[in-house]
């Protein structure tokens, strides 16, 4: 999108008044979305963004600015204004830009811009029909397809540069089930860094059935019990608890700000021995994967917790320098309008040895939490709350009646120590993670796990 020579010129302009680091980030995005509701296409929208983000450091301070353009004159003007914020005596200069080399390779078969809007409409109509055919109780289906093709170029005053083309496809399905006065909802998302082949082979319809299943099953739900009880958390989206209640505390910026319970815990036991947790931005086609992070560093796998011992934090360039640790390729940003920070990618608890069905059998009275509506965490303490959207009672080792209105409340680091069993059925679920006003693509993941005790909040009886 821009010449390397021009990138060097901008980097040097940014350094002129003494900044200790400079960076240019160029991004072009073509997005499209199609939304179905009431069995017809309600809205079809396309968008185009093209711009340039500029970043410099002056000591510990970061200065950031952007322009909605990649015209050379506008970028240079913005670089002069931003550089002017620094009045120091440094004499840094960029020589040659050397391209970073990522080992991550992808093949995209069906680029979104080659798929007609009519074709996308067919997929959504099929999702709608599948959901409504699933049960007469399904009274509303909201489904949307969003796709994005983007091109990124990054260069910095360390002499690094990188470029990447990204394709993202997302299908989300929300259904409403109604029976007499009982009303329930079901939600599922499929999202990959892939073209429209992601939605082939009946995968869109499968998603519609899964969302419908949740809503219909939950029509029979009884009030959730209350109390401090054993909880088995299902695979895939169950990993959201680790993401929210532990993962954010492992992001190095919160550690550096003394706002993490994991500060000073490197090399120490933070979880039960059966827990190994990993952040891996290079799992092919996963939603949180990329060739280069938002600072141009190559993607890869970072073990965070190994057999219960904390071994790594999640770093961006700035935090890795401050912590004197290697970069982990986790500097991410929402777009050229945003300054990067340490963020998770695909973050998961690794497979253990236990068979999921034997985990359920080991619980006399407790609950099985399969899907969550999301949650919230107090990062400084790790206190969390998660709403269960699909959950069941476990009685005498068997999954029993579905429960409604259930919430899990606890403390992330505390729960890590109470994990008694880890299954061998690792799976992932895609989503978006918000932090500091920026939203980035993420996957959470885990096998089935058992926690000895978590507080369950509901309106039912004490279990």
């Amino acid at each position: 999108m821009i010449e390397k020579r021009f990138a060097s010129k901008v980097l040097n302009t940014l350094l002129e008044t003494g900044a200790s680091f400079s960076e240019i980030f160029i991004q072009k995005m073509s997005a499209s979305s199609l939304k179905l509701e009431d069995s017809s296409i309600e809205n079809c929208s396309s968008g185009y963004d093209l711009g340039c983000g500029l970043r410099i450091w002056n000591g510990d301070s970061t200065y950031y600015a952007y322009v909605d353009s990649i015209k050379e004159s506008r970028i240079l003007d913005a670089a002069r204004v931003l550089g002017g914020a620094v009045k120091s005596t440094g004499q840094l200069k960029v020589a040659d830009l050397i391209e970073n080399k990522s080992a991550y390779r992808l093949s995209i078969k069906k680029y979104p811009h080659l798929i007609s809007a009519d074709n996308k409409k067919e997929i959504l109509l099929s999702v709608d029909k599948t959901a409504r055919d699933f049960s007469p109780h399904i009274v509303q289906v909201t489904a949307s397809i969003s796709d994005l093709e983007e091109e990124i170029f990054i260069a910095n005053s360390l002499g690094e540069c990188s470029g990447e083309k990204v394709v993202k496809t997302l299908l989300s399905v929300n259904v409403v089930a109604l029976r007499k006065k009982e009303i329930r909802t079901g939600h599922k998302t499929l999202a990959e860094t892939r073209g429209f082949e992601a939605l082939e082979a009946g995968r869109a319809e499968k998603l519609a059935k899964e969302a419908s299943h949740i809503a219909v099953v939950m029509l029979d739900a009884i009030n959730a019990p209350v109390g401090l009880i054993p909880v088995v958390i299902g695979p895939a989206f169950g990993g959201v608890i680790f993401h929210e209640a532990c993962g954010h505390g492992l992001e190095a910026d919160s550690v550096l700000k003394d706002a993490s319970v994991f500060k000073g815990k490197l090399g120490k036991k933070v979880a039960s021995e059966s827990v190994t947790a990993i952040d891996d931005s290079s799992i092919p086609h996963h939603w949180g994967s990329f060739k280069y992070d938002g600072e141009g560093f190559t993607s890869g796998s970072t073990v965070l917790i190994k057999d219960g011992i904390l071994v790594n934090f999640i770093n961006d360039l700035k935090s890795s320098i401050k912590m004197k640790k290697p970069r982990t390729g986790n500097g991410r940003r929402q777009s050229y309008r945003d300054s990067p920070m340490p963020r998770m990618t695909n973050t998961y608890i690794a497979n253990g040895k236990d068979d999921p069905s034997s985990i359920i059998r080991s619980v006399n009275r407790g609950i099985y939490a399969k899907e969550f509506a999301g949650g919230q965490v107090e990062p400084a303490t790790g206190d969390f709350v998660f709403g269960i959207s699909e959950g069941y009672l476990i009685e005498k080792g068997e999954i029993g009646q579905p429960i409604k209105g259930a919430t899990l409340i606890g403390n992330g680091p505390d729960i890590l120590k109470k994990i008694e069993a880890v299954g061998n059925d690792l799976d992932f679920a895609p989503g978006f993670c918000g932090k500091g006003g920026q939203s980035v693509t993420n996957e959470v993941g885990q096998p089935t796990i058992k926690v000895s005790k978590i507080t369950v909040g509901g309106t039912g009886k004490k279990l």
Binding site: S45, I183, V385, G405, V456, T459
Partner: protein, 471 residues
């Protein structure tokens, strides 16, 4: 056609004129024969965000962006496209995309541009000063940095147990909006906002706690750094050593800002689009009693001092004050012109538009429960055992505006014999929204507001017989 701004809250600044010029230019590019109607929505935002840490600037970001959204109607089908690049060739391409997008969308007899007969309210009396602080420009970036630094320093000094500040942030912005359509509608406005917020971390020998607070205004002048610092510190320290209580049914008191957040989660269920699609717990409930008779709920799109006040909404309809619940009875849902036509009513001026990237939907503006008559003392008096909720987490994931179920995490203080007792943490409160609404026993005198997808306000609420689960 001549396009001229009618309202008095904008259209005079240079940015606004620039946006109007872009819209006029795009209007000339519209291929008239291939579409029936069009609407152009241009918006710009300039702002700065300053986060400080340990007495230094951590990050200073400045933003300056603008974009254009194009909405077209052809045979009662709608198409949309937007661009952040405002060059002629790109605008032309965006227009073409919006037309192509209309070809796959549903045809719907109610799908056409707003017309004056759709509006419930007439041109509001708002001047430029209502939305824009003219002193904004007098503030240099260095004094904004100074404000964030002082907020951090003051917060740290408030109490010896404050061991850190998780963030201390100053953020501001000026937004310009112009909307113009082929029916001759043309409105523009300019607004400014400045916010400060801080999160204080306190520690004692056993426990860690956080407390957040904020202030906002049309400009940096008048932001109350001292109060924000002391409130954040107080909220943090006050909950140190919180205990999990036994699961039980208690009367609970929600402090105003917590009740306001809860109202914010309810608001989408009162928007007509959710109701029409069967995605609201309030569907079929118009005319029914939901709250006790002493409660009124308003959406006031032109409220003086309201952060979400504007003379017109996201499709140019004028705004005003709507009684959503009157004496506890659900009077009306919130409408844009499309949902109003479908429901046989007029637009309440609630077409919401997050940015030029999105089509007008329906959303609340300044949305609040009216004040009651009790001060805090008389609310607490008479509670033998209760729970004063001062922090709530997992509100969005724990509340389902379709089914009405609600189960959220809470922190606060126990109430014993009418006065505040020890701090409580890691418990959940669970109910369903209709039971909760009907169980309100008292409302406080002071309404407090907070922004987030609307500007939500409430007095303190005393609610009887809520299930609290702990250990």
């Amino acid at each position: 056609m001549e396009y001229k701004n009618k309202n008095k809250a904008g259209g005079h600044g240079s940015k606004n004129k620039h946006l109007l010029d872009i819209c006029k230019k795009a209007a000339l590019m519209m291929p008239k024969g291939r579409i029936d109607q069009f609407e152009l929505f241009a918006a710009s935002h300039t702002g700065s965000e300053i986060e400080v840490f340990n007495g230094k600037v951590d990050t200073l970001s400045s933003s300056d962006s603008a974009g254009l959204g194009v909405r077209v109607f052809k045979d009662k089908a709608m198409g949309y496209a937007y661009t952040a690049v405002l060059e002629d060739a790109v605008i032309e391409d965006t227009i073409e995309k919006s037309i192509a997008n209309s070809s796959v969308s549903k045809r719907d007899q109610f799908n056409y541009l707003p017309e004056p007969g759709d509006f419930r309210f007439s041109l509001p009396e708002m001047g430029e000063g209502d939305l824009f602080d003219s002193r904004f420009m007098e503030y240099k970036i260095s004094s904004k940095i100074g404000m964030a630094l002082r907020l951090e320093e003051l917060t740290r000094k408030m109490d010896p147990r404050i061991k850190g500040v998780r963030y201390s942030i100053y953020e501001d912005g000026i937004s310009d909006t112009v909307i113009l359509n082929s029916n001759g509608l043309c409105e523009g406005c300019i607004s400014s906002v400045a916010v400060i917020y801080v999160s204080a971390i306190s520690k004692d020998s056993k426990d860690t706690s956080t407390g957040d607070y904020f202030d906002y205004g049309r400009g940096p002048a008048g932001l109350d750094v001292e109060t924000v610092a002391s409130e954040a510190a107080r909220r943090s320290v006050e909950l140190l050593g919180g205990k999990k209580i036994k699961s039980q049914v208690l009367d609970i008191v929600l402090e105003p800002l917590i009740a306001a957040q809860l109202l914010g989660v309810l608001a989408p269920a009162l928007c007509a689009d959710a109701v029409i699609k069967g995605k609201s717990l309030f569907k079929d409930m118009q005319g029914q009693k939901v709250f006790p008779s002493f409660i009124d709920v308003f959406d006031h799109g032109t409220m003086p001092g309201g952060l979400y006040s504007r003379p017109f909404d996201g499709e140019g309809a004028y705004r005003g004050k709507t009684t959503v619940f009157g004496k506890g009875i659900l009077k009306t849902f919130l409408h844009n012109t499309y949902t109003a036509r479908r429901s046989g009513t007029s637009s309440t001026g609630n077409a919401s538009r997050a940015s030029y990237r999105s089509v007008p939907e329906v959303g609340p503006s300044n949305f609040y429960i009216g004040p009651g008559s009790d001060d805090m003392e008389s609310i607490f008096k008479g509670i033998d055992k209760g729970f004063y909720v001062t922090d709530i987490i997992g509100l969005h994931s724990g509340t389902n505006p379709i089914s009405g179920q609600m189960s959220v995490g809470a922190r606060g203080r126990l109430i014993e014999k009418g006065s505040l007792s020890y701090p409580v943490r890691e418990v959940t409160i669970a109910t369903d929204i209709l039971t909760f609404a009907a169980s309100i026993l008292k409302t406080g005198k002071d309404v407090k507001f907070m922004p987030g997808g609307g500007f939500f306000g409430s007095p303190a609420l005393l609610v009887g017989g809520i299930s609290v689960s702990g250990k």
